[in-house]
């Protein structure tokens, strides 16, 4: 054995020439390790696999020509992207391949952006620089960013787009929910464009709550808000019986009296039971408030609180006082000041007061509050941050009660405390925290919200869009949302607009809601007599709409003041509304317009001119268009509807000038009420 080794040693290293030769061979072998290792890398297998995959296709030659071997990299220093994903995902741009073929050889689905302009990780996350499957996709080696599941992909769009995109419904819904559920009362959330998400849940002031409701109701509500109203956005804080007892004691104790003269009310007669319900319908309360119908379905809007059991909540004297002028009780309320007379107040108050649920307060009996309970209640109110949402006497609104969420989408995993059952990645953590905050510890202050899986999904999308990368993006990539406007109309009309809370539904010059048409250039569209009459008694322009303009019972003078202001101030600079008097049209033009209306443009599919023959009710009724609209408006609107009413679904049909003029001539001749036409 020994002699064999010795002879081998002598053969290889016996003299200097042998030693040199042998060492050279060993060195060569050592040097070969590196290229060999490189040759067997994971990605080379995928690239070879791709060439085999396309080899038998008819377009193999084209695909092969477009294929580039070796490590591929997208480097975009401006947005901090270094992506080597295309090293294995070689066919992202090969649109002729099947969309559901094997990975990594699928082409990228159609999106509005070029892949080499934004790279991959901006939307998909993952480790762009990695060149192995494990490291690129998963959070092995303590990587922070595993690949984002497909259901959260819209969050990627939200980093640049702070505006509302049609293609990102989940992101839009999530951002809306952050306001609707009042998340942003406690959490600050600044969008990358500098705007803040504003709360839109309108939590009531509690400074005069003892006038409005009873301690028993507060107790039952605190225990479970959703038992009172299924659509309530107030979360469940999981208060114990004693806690709810003490908080209700404190809230009643801090409540002060408000000196509002009680309005005159005529008590309705016993046989007028249906009239209150009719008045509720005629006043279009359902545009904002929902009620459960007999089948248990909620019918109505979600701007105001649900009224299914309102009779079990409010005191009758408070209710009439609120209905007569809500602004007295809550200066910032979105509810308009209806001009109800004494009889209407009586009818409506009795109707709402009859919406009760005897079960809701059946098991609540509270003994008179002690000072100790009140003090404990105050302590709880402070601890649970009630004043983040509500105004309460003697309690200061806490600053930054909950963590800032501006960069929550890139929160480091090292800063997160996970619990068993929650996967170690940011989206899973966010979803689990929103679904059930108390699984992360009973001391967690965040309350339990009532949200569906879809809503949670949407919220996580909105939160994941809040990354530090979004904050640092170059300005030319940012698509900001509309800047908030503090537009305030002036004078007596301005006061009326504020008193009637027009901004709750209408938008003017960038301020206001989107439930009703934007009024910024309404003065160019309509005629004065029609507008005055409409403000006094809004009729049904769109038969299919459920949410409609309510009747405020305005006086003649109020209606005229408003109409004059709208007609003078809210004008478009694009054309002169009075430039085309109805008298300038000829009968030939009218006849030709009628032909165009019914045959070439088939307007009757969506609009009604003659109620005997036309049935369409997508767009507004045009039976009296000649009394309502200006001819110049009609002509300009027909030529480009979206220019005058952004977002309208009326298609822009590139109607030529002479057709638009003839159609306007025909529509301006429509001056009869449907009843007159029926004759």
């Amino acid at each position: 054995m020994r002699s064999k080794l010795t002879s081998a040693w002598r053969t290889l290293f016996g003299d200097s020439a042998r030693a040199f030769g042998s060492l050279s061979v060993i060195l060569l072998l050592c040097l070969a390790v590196v290229p060999a290792k490189d040759h067997f890398r994971e990605w080379t297998g995928y690239q070879a696999g791709y060439l085999r995959y396309i080899a038998n296709r008819g377009d193999a030659a084209t695909l092969k020509r477009r294929f580039e071997g070796g490590i591929q990299q997208t480097w975009l220093p401006a947005i901090g992207v270094v992506d080597r994903c295309t090293t294995c995902h070689v066919a992202l741009k090969a649109t002729s391949l099947e969309g559901n073929g094997p990975q990594p050889y699928r082409p990228h689905p159609v999106i509005p952006h070029k892949l080499d302009q934004f790279g991959c990780v901006l939307c998909h996350r993952g480790q762009g620089v990695a060149t192995t499957v494990q490291e690129a996709h998963n959070s092995t080696l303590a990587w922070e960013q595993p690949i984002l599941p497909a259901r959260y992909i819209e969050s990627g769009c939200g980093q640049c787009h702070q505006n509302k995109l049609t293609g990102t419904p989940q992101l839009n819904q999530g951002r809306q929910l952050l306001g609707e559920y009042g998340c942003v009362h406690c959490h600050t959330l600044n969008l990358a464009d500098g705007n803040k998400i504003a709360p839109s849940d309108h939590p009531p002031l509690l400074t005069h709550i003892a006038e409005k409701t009873t301690r028993e109701w507060i107790y039952a509500w605190l225990k479970n808000p959703q038992a009172y109203a299924v659509s309530a956005t107030m979360p469940n804080f999981g208060f114990s019986d004693d806690d709810a007892r003490d908080i209700s004691a404190f809230l009643i104790a801090q409540s002060t009296k408000l000196n509002v003269a009680p309005p005159a009310v005529t008590q309705p007669s016993a046989d007028s039971s249906g009239e209150g319900s009719s008045l509720y319908g005629e006043s279009f309360c359902a545009s904002c408030h929902a009620m459960q119908n007999a089948a248990g379905m909620l019918v109505g809007g979600n701007v105001g609180p649900e009224l299914t059991r309102v009779g079990s909540k409010v005191k009758p004297e408070w209710l009439v006082s609120w209905l007569s002028n809500p602004g007295n009780w809550s200066p910032n309320t979105v509810m308009p000041h209806y001009r109800f007379d004494a009889k209407q107040l009586g009818l409506l108050a009795r109707y709402l007061g009859s919406q009760t649920d005897s079960d809701f307060l059946a098991h609540v009996s509270l003994s008179p509050a002690t000072q100790e309970q009140i003090d404990h209640g105050k302590k709880l109110v402070n601890e649970r941050g009630c004043a983040s949402c509500h105004v309460i006497n003697g309690i200061k609104k806490p600053d930054n009660f909950a963590p800032d969420l501006t960069e929550v989408g890139s929160r480091s995993l090292a800063k997160i405390v996970f619990v068993p059952g929650v996967e170690h990645d940011l989206p899973s953590y966010l979803a689990a925290k929103i679904r059930n905050p108390h699984q992360f510890g009973s001391a967690m202050k965040m309350p339990q919200f009532t949200l569906t899986t879809t809503q949670i999904n949407a919220l996580v999308n909105a939160l994941l869009a809040q990354t530090d990368r979004a904050e640092g993006l170059p300005a030319n990539l940012r698509v900001p949302g509309p800047a908030p406007s503090d537009y305030e109309p002036a004078g007596p009309a301005g006061q009326l607009i504020a008193d009637l809370r027009c901004f709750s539904c209408h938008s003017i010059n960038g301020r206001g809601g989107d439930m009703a048409p934007d009024l910024s250039i309404e003065g160019s569209a309509v005629q004065r007599p029609w507008l005055v009459a409409f403000l006094k008694a809004p009729n049904t322009l769109r038969p299919a709409l459920i949410r409609r303009m309510p009747r405020f019972n305005l006086s003649d003078k109020e209606a005229q003041t408003l109409a004059d202001y709208i007609l003078t101030v809210y004008q478009t600079p694009a054309f002169d509304a009075a430039s085309l008097p109805a008298s300038s049209f000829t009968q030939t033009e009218r006849d030709h317009g009628k032909q165009l209306f019914y045959s070439k443009y088939a307007c009757q599919s969506c609009h009604i001119v003659d109620p005997n023959t036309d049935k369409g009710y997508v767009g507004p009724t045009l039976t009296q268009a000649g009394l309502r609209l200006n001819a110049a408006w009609i002509v300009n609107y027909l030529k480009d509807p979206q220019k005058l009413r952004p977002g309208t679904i009326e298609p822009n049909q590139h109607i030529p000038d002479e057709d638009a003029r003839d159609l306007a001539a025909f529509l301006m001749a429509q001056t009869k009420t449907p009843k007159e036409k029926g004759k």
Partner: protein, 244 residues
Amino acid sequence: MRRTVEIGIPVLGMLLGLAGCQKGAVTPVLHPKANGAALVESSGGKQAGFVGSPLDQPLVVQVNDAQGNGVAGALVSFTAAGDAAVKPATGLTADDGTLTVNCQLGSVSGRYRIVATTWDKQGKPITLNLDEIALGYQQNLGRQLNEKYCARCHNQESTVERVSNYDNLATKPHSFTDGNFYNTVNDADIAAIITYGGAARHQSAEMPSYGGTLSKSDVDALVSYVRAISDPPYHEKGLTYARQ
């Protein structure tokens, strides 16, 4: 003796280590309390949603006996195609014979077949197929545009918020799920009808032209949405390549 301890400690450690590696939670095995004779869909089939997302409505299936009455306590098991998932994947039916589960779509656009299985008294499986549609970005955009611009006329169903205009039209528009019609029209013609109006392709003039309102990519998105939800499914007639 000492030797036994020396070997014993590492072995014990290894055993403990192995025990620790096992998953702590054991999924409870459900035992059917009854067996049905038929499995029917109550609701939840043919829904469309964004890829990878949970479907808006749950899947509800019902196990019936031979007389068509619901069977309580029957075992139903679900399997989903691809990376779609049904939660819970198995369950026992409620008193009325129904079982409600939630479905999350897979991460690639297309159709996902969910197969529900129950077993009759002889242990023979009874299956029910539910097809769900996952929409990619483009199709999802089409869906949003459809809701805004098209559904008012093309969808016969009225909702609380949207009254259908279908009945008011002289020529009835095709429902977008109507594969028997749309599958016979090629992409370019559907796009042309949207862009230039129905009259441009010998369809009703009541379909106005949307070319001035929708961009080309919007129109493409609508076409891809119509293709995605078509029933029967649309199979693209592309080029077929000869195999070498």
